[in-house]
Symmetry: none
Subunit: 253 residues, 2 copies
DNA sequence: ATTTACTTTCATTTGCTTTCATTATACAGC
DNA sequence: GCTGTATAATGAAAGCAAATGAAAGTAAAT
């Protein structure tokens, strides 16, 4: 059995059974726990499952609200810094896109002082945050509501955005590597982002240090498609360098 | 059982049962109180529940509660009755439209028990309420966010809905008269509703008694376009009669 | 000869329990 | 209504066993 097959089998098991244990898996596939742990690590990095002590559970097992709150709290300081640096790029009167990642969400808090802004977003949370900001026009694409990310995913719904000229797009990501570019955990999510990357004159990636070197299941932008990466100082320096070598500006805040 | 699973189960319990006790939880999961307390601490820190002496109680999700409170302020009893009667018309597996009026919003509360429902709505509040209902697929049109009604208004964005066959549409209104039909307070709002009336096989107007005889600035449906009016017993009887004379079913609840 | 897949070893971390001093709650007596 | 006391809940600290990640080693494939 190839490692790939084993990993696929693990994914199947965790989906179908709701949980897997390291010990059980190591027995079933006749490998040691260390190997299983490596597999689980890999799959967790890809966002396919969630690692626990002693095993793993499927992604999305937790309430969406829980995960949103959780994600919002994690790395709060770095996110706030990244968000502040990002919002400094926004100019009055522009149209910008803000995606449904938690890092991009943090950008919203800083757009309050801008005037006559148009914010395009597929995130209900972003839209909600901007409600009651009379200086900001919020535009949303149509689509089906995705429970985990609280966002609309449907490429067909993007047609309504055609007439807007979006100056800058702020994209979060599950992972960022020089080779795979920006990646996300689901193909459907990635499909929308891919289309939106096309529509933004400038693509700005907002990713904290933990995202570097991680690869999700679906990529939505190559590094060359990105105009600017905003990340924090903990980002691995050699990876930052190779992204810079590809001609992309990387800001460490 | 993994710690994550236990915590998830605690969240489920506190949501469903309204309260949990440390002693009961520690017995149920076969761990000591100290462990349960640590779990509750963690969940309380995340804002998922509120800690009390001896246990915990649920916390309503921010806007969720807000909208609930708001909704119950005015004509609560009538609206609830109208909503209950309306939701009785919905059948499992259907696609229905629910608009952004407060009366239509009340219908949402009753769709929880339906299976495999598709709800089309341009209201962020409706979408929000249905989040976390795995049995309901939420579809939204694209558009610009209207601050007052918290809804998306943009006829262009409706294209994404073309492929859905919407069985029933529940429309609130600012006013209803035999002559002017259903009217709303803004032309832009009415324009969307007009298009949506076209798309629904059955148009159901949900209006409390105060709406009868009132006319807003823009009408979005003639009385003949409506298949059913659901209102309360306080509706002026002679006006109800003239609507019935036009061949429209009027239910007084 | 080099890469890939895996195992073994081991110091560290995690999750949990137990113990204990402190604090909150309930309620009986005034 | 108040107050003191009994009872229960709490958080902190210490201890323990299982799980873990990192590193070094082994074997097979290319």
């Amino acid at each position: 059995m190839f490692p790939e097959e084993r990993r696929q089998a693990i994914v199947d098991l965790v989906q179908r059974h709701g949980r897997v244990e390291v010990a059980a898996l190591s027995q079933r596939f006749d490998v040691t726990g260390a190997t299983i742990r490596a597999d689980l690590q890999l799959l967790a990095d890809q966002g396919v499952l969630v690692r626990t002590h002693g095993g793993a559970i499927p992604v999305g097992a937790g309430l969406h609200e829980l995960s949103l709150v959780k994600r919002r709290q994690q790395h709060g300081v770095q996110k706030a810094r990244i968000a502040r640096a990002s919002s400094a790029l926004i100019e009055d009167g522009e149209a910008v896109f803000i995606d449904s990642s938690s890092t991009a969400l943090a950008v919203v808090e800083h757009v309050r002082q801008r005037r006559d802004l148009t914010v395009v977003t597929n995130s209900l949370v972003v839209a909600q945050e901007l409600l009651g900001q009379p200086n900001v026009t919020v535009v949303m694409p149509g689509g089906t509501l995705h429970h985990d990310t609280v966002s609309l995913i449907d490429v067909g719904g993007l047609a309504v955005l055609q007439r807007y000229h979006i100056a800058k797009g702020f994209f979060g990501a599950h992972g960022l590597t020089p080779a795979d570019g920006l990646t996300d955990v689901s193909e459907s999510e990635a499909r929308v982002k891919r289309a939106l990357v096309e529509m933004c004159r400038q693509v700005i990636a907002v990713v904290d240090a933990t995202k570097w070197g991680r690869t999700g299941v679906a990529s939505f932008a190559r590094v060359q498609d990105v105009h600017k990466v905003i990340t924090d100082v903990d980002a691995p320096i050699e990876m930052v360098q190779s992204v810079r070598d590809l001609g992309v500006e990387v800001a460490l805040v």
